[in-house]
């Protein structure tokens, strides 16, 4: 009895904090998403699924937010997981030079997103930025443009910044997985006469599957919840061209003061994240079996 009680004293303080500042707001998000609460509403009224129906049915800004988020995430996931894997394969050995490369690639991850946002705002600047200057130098002047101010290009410029910042981190996830593959498998493969491609196809890839799942799911979730980067570079603009889902929720709540409506967005956001994760586990899990 005394043992039970003393163990409880270990769990209780942390759990109280977690309960009050995580569980309570999460549950109240669900509840508030079904109310009309906002700065202009006098009384909080339960409105059922009205917010959700309105948001999905007729809110064009919501639709554009979903499209922006998808464009951003798909671009980031494709480039970040593929190139991170390539770099991981090149840098898997623990040589001095490789460790130096890894440290450099990882470096942007530790810098605040706000700072990274400013760095690239400067690089992309149409008048003094290096990106356009570089294109001019190599004779591709017709490609120069207003990278963060262009209606169509801005979301992809943001995707590039995200990629620049986090590829090194995803590369490390792969390296951890690669280094866990037993060396003798490759030796056996080589004795059996398997070439580099065959070794990759039959040893590395199947055994790397768990790391690949984590890398893809992690990159997807991380890119879906991009916020600081957008707030600090484009603030959702031009127009609403880069107003990704989390920024949309933020604007609904703190610019338009539609709390209940914003909570409906938050709930949809959570559902979307859970769906994406489950779908990815299903797809990648199935391929894992067939290998």
């Amino acid at each position: 009895m005394g043992k039970r009680l003393s163990i409880l004293t270990f769990v209780l303080p942390g759990f109280l904090l977690y309960g009050i500042f995580f569980l309570v707001p999460t549950v109240s998000s669900l509840a508030l998403s079904m109310t009309n609460w906002g700065a202009t509403s006098k009384h909080i009224v339960f409105v059922g699924l009205k917010n959700f129906i309105e948001m999905i049915g007729s809110d064009t800004i919501f639709r554009s937010a979903v499209v922006d988020s998808l464009e951003f995430s798909i671009t980031v996931v494709v480039f970040q997981t593929a190139l991170a894997l390539a770099f991981a394969l090149l840098l898997v050995r623990n040589t001095r030079l490789n460790i130096m490369y890894r440290s450099i690639y990882f470096f942007p991850t530790i810098i605040a997103s706000v700072s990274v946002a400013f760095i690239w705002q400067y690089m992309f600047d149409p008048t003094v930025g290096w990106v356009n200057h570089f294109l001019n130098i190599i004779g591709l002047s017709n490609l120069t443009q207003n990278w963060l101010g262009g209606q169509h290009i801005a979301i992809f410029s943001l995707a590039f910044i995200q990629f620049w910042m986090h590829t090194g981190q995803v590369m490390l996830l792969y390296i951890v997985g690669l280094q866990a593959i037993p060396r003798d498998l490759y030796e056996v493969g080589e004795i059996e006469g398997a070439g580099p491609w065959q070794r990759f196809r039959h040893i590395t890839w199947p055994l790397l599957a768990p790391s690949a799942i984590i890398a893809v799911v992690y990159t997807t979730i991380q890119s879906f919840k991009v916020f600081d980067l957008v707030i600090a570079t484009t603030n959702g603009g031009p127009g609403d061209a880069t107003e990704v889902f989390p920024v949309y929720i933020y604007q609904e709540a703190f610019t338009n003061y539609q709390y209940g409506y914003a909570e409906a967005g938050a709930v949809l956001f959570l559902i979307m994240m859970i769906l994406v994760t489950v779908i990815q586990f299903l797809i990648i899990g199935r391929r894992d079996v067939s290998v």
């Binding site: 003393s6 163990i7 409880l8 004293t9 270990f10 769990v11 303080p13 942390g14 759990f15 904090l17 977690y18 500042f21 995580f22 309570v24 707001p25 999460t26 109240s28 998000s29 508030l32 390539a86 770099f87 090149l90 490369y101 440290s103 450099i104 990882f106 470096f107 942007p108 991850t109 530790i110 810098i111 605040a112 997103s113 706000v114 700072s115 400013f118 760095i119 690239w120 400067y122 600047d125 003094v128 290096w130 200057h133 620049w164 490390l172 951890v176 060396r183 992690y218 979730i221 991380q222 916020f227 707030i231 600090a232 929720i249 933020y250 709390y259 909570e263 938050a266 956001f269 859970i274």
Partner: protein
């Protein structure tokens, strides 16, 4: 595996070097920009500063502003790290020592906190903070940062505890050690590596966080570094030297630590990448 031949080595170096340049070049450029005058950024944007100017830094430190933001960030980050490590490792130990049923149930509840992104809760958290009178206080920031860091801490320290031999604890218990003695004398010293990992993860997350200060802090004197940077952007608009002097100053402590403890940073942020 055989060592790749010379030509393969050279082909391999090319993409590696190109990506390293892509990463480092922008940092060199903002370093230059921070030491230019505002005019020089526009007149000679692609050159190294000539002469090197400290005007941007003077602007930022004017009236002790930058010291204030630095102090705020330090207070919030260090308190949040200490609090979340103490509470988190206690929790991890408690869950580990609980019966299977309650231990697993609570473990699942805590894991939920790793999956939910901070933006899902931002509106209700803001309202809760308003009701509890925690808006516009550094203490409030410590509380949310700690709550945010707690699940990852429990996850990493708890995962490490599972690898410890259980007999170690049983033996000490037979010798009459209380739960607190087990925790303080055996578990804590042995989980040093896990705690270091968590500390680095927490440092980066809390030091760089923009969302919570943006939501909760209104008064200028309570801004943390990322929030202050965001306001510089509005204040100085395209005064790049001031902006980058701010970026450099706010990044200094974390970069110094990174240079010394690279391995821990990589382990910490990779292990914590489930959240983050």
């Amino acid at each position: 595996m055989r060592r790749p031949s010379g030509i393969v080595q050279i082909l391999r170096q090319f993409p590696l070097l190109a990506f390293a340049v892509l990463i480092l070049f922008p940092f060199v450029m903002i370093f230059f920009a921070a030491f230019k005058t505002d005019a020089a950024v526009y007149m000679a944007p692609y050159n190294a500063p000539h002469p090197w100017s400290l005007a941007a830094f003077r602007t930022l430190f004017h009236g002790g502003q930058m010291f204030l933001y630095f102090r705020n960030s330090t207070i919030v980050t260090s308190s949040a790290i200490v609090l979340s490590i103490v509470l988190g490792s206690m929790m991890a130990y408690g869950l580990y020592r609980m019966g299977r049923f309650w231990g697993n149930l609570l473990w699942a509840v805590v894991s939920f906190g790793i999956m939910v992104p901070t933006q899902v809760n931002m509106v209700s958290l803001y309202i809760e903070f308003d009701k509890l009178n925690l808006l516009n206080s550094l203490f409030g920031l410590v509380i949310v940062d700690c709550t945010f860091l707690l699940p990852v801490t429990v996850f990493i320290v708890g995962g490490y505890l599972k690898t410890l031999p259980y007999g170690l604890l049983e033996a000490a218990q037979i010798d009459g050690a209380s739960e607190w003695m087990l925790f303080l004398r055996i578990v804590t010293p042995l989980s040093g590596a896990a705690i270091a990992t968590v500390a680095i993860f927490s440092l980066v997350m809390s030091w760089n966080d923009l969302l919570y200060p943006l939501l909760f802090i209104q008064s200028k004197g309570l801004q943390t570094l990322p929030l202050a940077l965001l306001h510089f952007q509005g204040q100085y608009l395209t005064n790049y030297p001031a902006l980058f002097a701010g970026v450099l100053i706010s990044a200094i402590p974390i970069v110094i630590l990174y240079v010394i403890f690279q391995r821990f940073f990589m382990e910490g942020l990779t292990a914590g990448s489930i959240k983050g």
